[in-house]
Symmetry: C2
Subunit: 593 residues, 2 copies
């Protein structure tokens, strides 16, 4: 979304690095000094400004001195304290097994003790008495507009009342754990801009803490609205602490992954107690939303036996294994209300996981998938009755003609709760290009109502994404999200396209680069064939060369035949045709040759 | 499309190079020895075969010795001669200005004389008397099934009668100039597999003959069904000759580009005579289809004056400039019937160009665009009445919610003639990623009825594509085309997805790679994190690591609970749960750690 007339022209002076990339950090001011909404300002060469949504956090503000060892400033801390409904408390003691160290192993252990996050110690916070609902949903239901809601309204270019009403209706969530005061508030709902999540996380095989923090800041720089830390290897607790303390966007997790590490990977040894303890551990750290696969019921598991690719959700398969081993409904389902009471005391948002999502074209929209969706619909109502914000996860692998049914059913069954989908991938045949197979599905499902898209990188099915893959995944999904914003007719969405197309038509190359989703690559591609500085102001490009350029002719047509001509073509055309001939029929300027 | 039971198991023994890439060339046999349809054979490690559509030509057959200086064998020559309706004739004399040498220039001239194609001399061929219709449309209307139609039927896995009937109805085209006997016949129509075109071509700024021939063979290797040579610089005639003599796929051009070079880039100096001479030149060389912007009428030009990006089609802007300069309807429109008479004597297919296509989201589906489409509908009927095969070009830049209207209108106005669209791009904001912005639109418009997709590369709007860009563009568009085949329920399309998903579920990594659209990249991505050979047979990947894999659990569920369980869940589950516990609740094999 863009706003040609920035509401408050407060602009940080750009550093050399920022001028080079064409991003300039600015802020929109709210009703009070501590509500300052970051934006990306692009100053065009024609003197106009374009203001873009910005997820990159304080890192791109040259006036803020960031340090990953100290963490980000707790932007929301005073808002949380001022509400007077939370309390600090000693919290759960961090134990070695939180980092997967219960079982000694030759490969195990923190690589160095310095890895423990060195920032200021902070007691965890929760709703008074440990049960008070301190959720944005609870406030919205009471008619309150929180600073977080006002922040979001400025960010989205809508009224705070609209934000409040959408949250109150359960059509949107504002993930904001009271223990993650570093977040810049954002909202997920179909009546707002479509959002993008980037997954990061180490595994038993690869990656370090430093890499994960770097991936998080890198992902948000390119536009990730939230980040999920899906670590499954060692140092899960510590990695998450570093990520949270440095993240300007909400962080999501799948607590089950860590719980499984605590029982050394033996799914059948999982218990409600171990899981609950892990959830509280993560609530205290500040996780903003948690994927919970509570819809995998015992009777649904056999429905997957004849599938082509069975259960592909890691959480889903863990719970299926547990259900089979114990021949009982999972503890996630049987203890769901207790889980609600925990989450609401921190304002952690549910992301009800689709453990039975299809993992291949053949399995899309089958009985197992939709049976689980109906259970998620029930759980959504339970969560809402406890004032816990909730979104619903969706597939997966779905051919184009079966996509709309997914979102239509989800919206109906889950009372319009935000849908949060992984792709979907529209074909299985292109490993190494699944950002594209899924980008197609993502754009379509977002147009039809999905509120947030979980990215897929080129490494999907093949390995863990590196820095380049993270960027490619985020850019691809920002394209899908924006294409959906356009198709939904989101107010303001087209201004960005229009600004870029104007720059293209007028041969303002630098403006084209700076307005691009990825200015660096756009500039680099142009320079490959026309590297010289004069080419940046040339009225042609390397496609047609200087001799004949369609854009140039169009400009001539507009200049010669614009205005009254469009209203009175026949007469005007005749007159102009004569002028055109008299001027020597010049339709281009021979710039070279 | 795949066929698990190849019709004729004739397989060329793979060279070392081919074994490395996992492609093995095979052929399907028709009713006579000279009908041999190339296929890509993938031999799976489980002993099964998957047969894929193959566009790569003789280059991937180790039993054929190809030489770009000699050109490909004239596969169709005997079929054409045997019909007895064509004649050889001296043909037009090739002149220096055909290569843009009318005006001497310090930069001009062939870089070396060796660039003249050295293959065997061949007289051009045309319909007897220069006017006889020798088109596949004429044959189809008469009820004939040509060898080309039989070839296509084998390729598509349908009956020859279906091919004939679709061509006769004008719903499909089989581009096959009698002077391009090297082509392996293919068909473009909504009731066949969706096809992909790749553009190549030099410009005044970049590229050489050698590069263009290399791009053509590279594009077809990755799946391009046709190639358009859009050269605009020097050596247009000679470059095209090299491309045609070496191309196993139909070649398209925009004759106007060369005609403009002949008048030194001065649009107003173009005449019907110069254009006609250029068309004949290209007909004699063997161009299979030609883009003709005959729908740009004088009265439509002012409709573009108020557009955001005016006229972005190069051909459209040339013709608009001509119309304005002369204040007359273009010679393409006024001489259209004469053009039909030329094309039908060579069986050149019309690709009626959309010269007024939108070049930005803001201009999509506007009056100028649809006014031209209505004129293309008229011209389509004129062409058909002359037995000239015809397809219709489409946009461009279109937001998702306006895509369906494009194809619905085109199908209605143009009597279901094949639609051939460029993307469309679904947003303007991502230069350097327009293969993705347009891949989204391409998949959707193909689902809804577009027969062929013109690719867009990452360099769109920024420069000319190099070898890597060509590959990325083709792969992206093969994804879009296949996703559309799936969504249309094309018979056999899903077999490819199923084969790959089976391999994925069963951890047959080599089969996954070999079945992938791009085996090389899939293998390389996997090896980045798990390079060792044992990882190729491992029952896990780097996402979850060896300790817990969802696919592995699913396999256990299938093994333990498949079959009767799916029919009788409750009872079976109880029994199996006990067995599961008795077996030690093992849901995975601890391969390492």
């Amino acid at each position: 979304m863009t706003s040609q007339d920035a509401r408050t022209p407060e602009t940080a002076s750009g550093s050399a690095e920022e001028r080079a990339t064409g991003w300039h950090k600015g802020y929109l001011s709210g009703s009070r000094p501590d509500i300052r909404v970051p934006v990306r300002r692009v100053h065009l060469t024609n003197g106009r400004d374009v203001t873009l949504y910005d997820t990159s956090g304080p890192y791109t503000d040259p006036n803020i001195d960031t340090d990953v060892r100290r963490g980000l400033a707790p932007l929301r801390e005073n808002w949380i304290i001022a509400r007077g409904d939370t309390e600090e408390y000693p919290g759960r003691e961090v134990r070695p097994e939180d980092d997967g160290l219960r079982h000694t192993s030759p490969r195990g252990g923190l690589r160095n003790l310095d890895a423990v996050f060195p920032g200021r110690p902070r007691l965890p916070r929760r709703g008074r008495g440990g049960t008070t609902a301190v959720t944005q949903l609870a406030y919205a239901k009471r008619g309150e507009i929180t600073p977080e809601m006002e922040f979001v309204a400025l960010r989205e270019g809508c009224s705070p009342e609209h934000v409040r009403d959408e949250i109150a209706a359960g059509r949107a969530v504002l993930p904001a754990n009271v223990n993650h005061p570093e977040t810049e508030p954002m909202i997920i709902g179909k009546n707002f801009l479509v959002k993008v999540n980037a997954n990061i996380g180490n595994s038993a095989v690869t990656s370090s803490i430093e890499e994960e923090v770097e991936k998080m800041t890198w992902a948000t720089r390119w536009g990730a609205d939230t980040v999920m830390d899906l670590s499954t290897g060692r140092n899960i607790h510590t990695t998450r602490e570093w990520v949270l303390r440095n993240s300007p966007v909400p962080i999501g997790t799948v607590p089950l992954y860590q719980a499984l590490e605590k029982v050394d990977g033996k799914a059948e040894e999982l218990t409600w107690e171990i899981y609950k303890d892990t959830v509280i551990e993560q609530c205290e750290q500040g996780v903003d939303y948690m994927t919970v696969h509570a819809g995998v019921l015992l009777r649904y598991v056999p429905l997957t036996a004849r599938r082509k690719t069975g259960i592909v959700s890691r959480g889903g398969s863990i719970m299926a294994a547990w259900c089979l081993a114990h021949h009982k409904e999972s503890f996630l389902y049987t203890h769901f209300e207790e889980l609600c009471e925990i989450l609401r005391a921190y304002d952690v948002t549910f992301s009800l996981g689709d453990g039975l999502r299809p993992g291949s074209i053949a399995d899309a929209n089958d009985e197992a998938q939709f049976a689980e969706l109906r259970t998620l619909g029930e759980l959504n109502r339970v969560a809402k009755s406890h004032d816990v914000q909730t979104m619903i996860e969706g597939p997966g692998h779905v051919p184009m003609h079966k996509i709309k049914e997914n979102v239509d059913l989800q919206q109906e069954i889950c009372d319009e709760a935000p849908f949060y989908t992984l792709g979907p991938l529209t074909t299985d045949i292109a490993p190494a290009y699944d950002h594209i197979t899924s980008g197609i599905g993502a754009a379509m499902i977002a147009w039809w109502g999905t509120a947030m898209l979980c990215y897929v990188t080129p490494k999907e099915h093949l390995g863990l994404p590196d820095r380049d893959d993270v960027k490619t995944g985020v850019i691809t999904y920002k394209i899908a999200a924006h294409a959906a914003d356009l198709a939904k007719g989101h107010p303001g969405a087209q201004e960005w396209d229009d600004a870029l197309s104007d720059a293209r038509f007028e041969f303002r190359w630098e403006d084209q680069f700076n307005l691009a989703l990825d200015p660096d690559t756009a500039r680099a591609f142009h320079d490959e064939t026309l590297p010289a500085e004069p080419a940046k102001t040339a009225h042609f490009c390397s496609m047609c060369g200087p001799k004949f350029c369609s854009m140039k002719i169009s400009q001539d047509i507009r200049r010669e035949h614009g205005g009254d001509l469009a209203l009175d073509p026949e007469e005007g055309m005749r007159r102009k045709s004569e002028e055109f001939a008299a001027s020597g029929n010049r339709v281009y300027l021979p710039l070279t040759d």
